[in-house]
Symmetry: C2
Subunit: 354 residues, 2 copies
DNA sequence: CAATTCGTTGATAACGATTACACTTCTTGG
DNA sequence: CCAAGAAGTGTAATCGTTATCAACGAATTG
């Protein structure tokens, strides 16, 4: 029965054929006479033979793992992304190696080098820095890379992300339309693509209606709950606090909400809020605010699709895919499931890039 | 510089030594003259040589991956667990292969077989069924297994989990102490360890005060939001609905909260709630209720520790470790961060098992 | 009918590292 | 000063699989 250490040689001996023939039968390549095939299959059954994937990978100089580099799986956006990617990979016979970088370049570099040494099949990465992240080690090893959520400027590769500019413009306009002139911003560091794009869209939208962004009510930092909390508290300690607030990702939103709760500020009566990202618990909250929802499963699908095309030998120049976010108003959010009455933004862009 | 495909042979040629010597220098084993070592290191630098981890794994017949089998990474408990385990493994030079089973035995089996074929270094698993999950394929391949959160009865291995019985007894007693006699229960299927233990503790605690559990206000099923939602709605459609409710994990709690919101039931005024698991957003909610918090990082630490001991050659009989949950009252939860004023339960148990 | 192609199979060489073994050369204690 | 052990190094086997090549008989074709 299925004991350990049964190799192709054992099967060959049992079936009275050469290892080459067993390989042909098992891998289904090449011609083998029906009678021989049956003998080999019988031997495989009897011995409980299973080919060593490690030996196969070694022989092929390519493993079946795809490395996923994200800052932190505990960020719900990354959680959903990881889940969706894992599903996609599983369906294609690959498996997922989870790498949390915590936005630490050193750890990111270590993991990239590791994946190169390990001859990963591919890498899906949300780079910790647009400028400092280099995929050189993996690319030099011939491993394809796809960026998600962010891009790396030094080594251009395929990338998929949400149209941050359109989404943030919509969030900002939403607050402007409600009459707010003093809108605070708690965002991500601009070395991160999503941080830069979201902040710039916010600033540009304000300027487009004649408002100069005020650095007193803008805080950029790590996309974690603690920063969102502290930054929000700080914003409201200024002489002229904002009447509205924008948070640039779900962890920042979480921190901001806790800060506002601590300050006793009601949303939207005292402070209006517009936030990036959706979480399953949003509809349970008393505060009401607009959110921009990212098409996470679609990002995952396209990322994996692109990776597979590269593995299939595609050598076209890298593509950059932008997907639309969906604006969910506070009324829609109230509806159970938070998936009703969504408002699409503008059309999907696909930009060719040198 | 660091080109691809630089093998140990290239380094050997460059340094004018044999591959064995290069191996000795690079892996740091065996004696090499200082001058030779320097020459080899120079060649390594010049060529940008990095040993192929794949070849190493193949040679050693053991990879550096640890498979983590959980039902769904989107369950926040699993998310935190995965994160904590990844940290532990990273510190020890291993990496994490993420496997979502969705509680589907077929998918679990597929992954276990895959990990066996891949010669994983180890497996950490929350089995989808106490009775039907078999680690035979991995164990036969000599791969150590540690169970977390749940146990597998057919193939006993090391396991770590929270003391479900003590925690659920405390939750139930809490509601009883507040005068509730009719306490509903939305829990997990009893083929899952945590489902069975939590339900039994609930039932036993009720009986201990002379209350016979009423199946009309008990629902057991998949630990997902949708089930929590539907089950809760169903409970309150009965002729004599409960005055209090217990939910057995965080996804069920999420669903239950949405259901109660839909029903317009205030917590705790209309319905009291006691729940298993903590989530970061709990303190933002208007509803107030008690929760049992699991020591997730500790579970991860012990699980990885046990795995490492097995990898180190430990052949003692499997150990079963139970850790204490922490009861967090609604008042404590109000405090920011939800980590103040915790109430420890009873002492840690360690049970030897045949 | 000769020439070619195809189907079938086995022997063998990789893939890139580690390591047991053998063979020098040093040390060093007696 | 010699024997014995240690240090330093190379050769070759090995891990399990797949791919290349050659060999041979059967079938096809001009």
């Amino acid at each position: 029965m299925s004991e350990t250490n049964v190799t192709i040689r054992d099967v060959a001996r049992r079936a009275g054929v050469s290892v080459a023939t067993v390989s042909r039968v098992v891998s289904g390549k090449g011609h083998v006479r029906e009678a021989t095939r049956a003998r080999v299959n019988a031997a495989v059954q009897e011995l409980g033979y299973r080919p060593s994937r490690m030996a196969r990978s070694f022989r092929a100089q390519r493993s079946n793992f795809v490395g996923l580099l994200i800052s932190d799986i505990e960020n719900p956006f990354h959680t959903s992304l990881a889940r969706a990617i894992e599903d996609q990979l599983y369906a294609r016979g690959y498996s997922l190696l989870l790498c949390n970088t915590d936005e630490v370049l050193e750890r990111e570099r270590t993991y990239l080098q590791f994946l190169a040494d390990e001859r990963a099949a591919g890498v899906i990465c949300a780079p910790a820095s647009e400028k400092e992240t280099s995929f050189h080690p993996v690319l030099a090893a011939g491993i394809p890379v796809v960026c998600v959520d962010r891009v790396a400027l030094c080594t251009p590769v395929d990338s998929v992300r949400v149209n941050n500019v359109a989404a943030m413009r919509a969030l900002t306009r939403h607050l402007l339309n409600r009459g707010h002139r003093r809108i605070g911003f708690v965002g991500l560091d601009t070395v991160i693509t999503s941080g830069r794009e979201r902040f710039e869209a916010y600033a540009q939208t304000l300027r487009s209606v004649g408002i100069e962004p005020d650095m007193n009510i803008i805080r950029l930092g790590k996309g974690v709950e603690a920063f969102g909390f502290q930054a929000t508290l700080a914003l409201f300690e200024t002489p002229t606090p904002p009447t509205a607030l924008i948070t640039a990702n779900n962890m920042l939103t979480l921190g901001a909400l806790k800060a506002l709760q601590k300050l006793g500020a009601r949303i939207p009566e005292d402070v209006a809020l517009a936030a990036f990202d959706v979480t399953p618990w949003l509809s349970l909250l008393t505060p009401r605010f607009v959110v921009a929802a990212q098409p996470i499963r679609q990002i995952a699908e396209i990322a994996v699709q692109m990776l597979m095309e590269r593995l299939g030998g595609n050598t076209q120049p890298p593509r950059e895919v932008l997907l639309d976010a969906t604006l969910i108003t506070d009324e829609a959010l109230r509806a159970f499931g938070a998936e009703a009455e969504t408002v699409p933004l503008n059309a999907t862009l696909k930009i060719q890039r040198g």
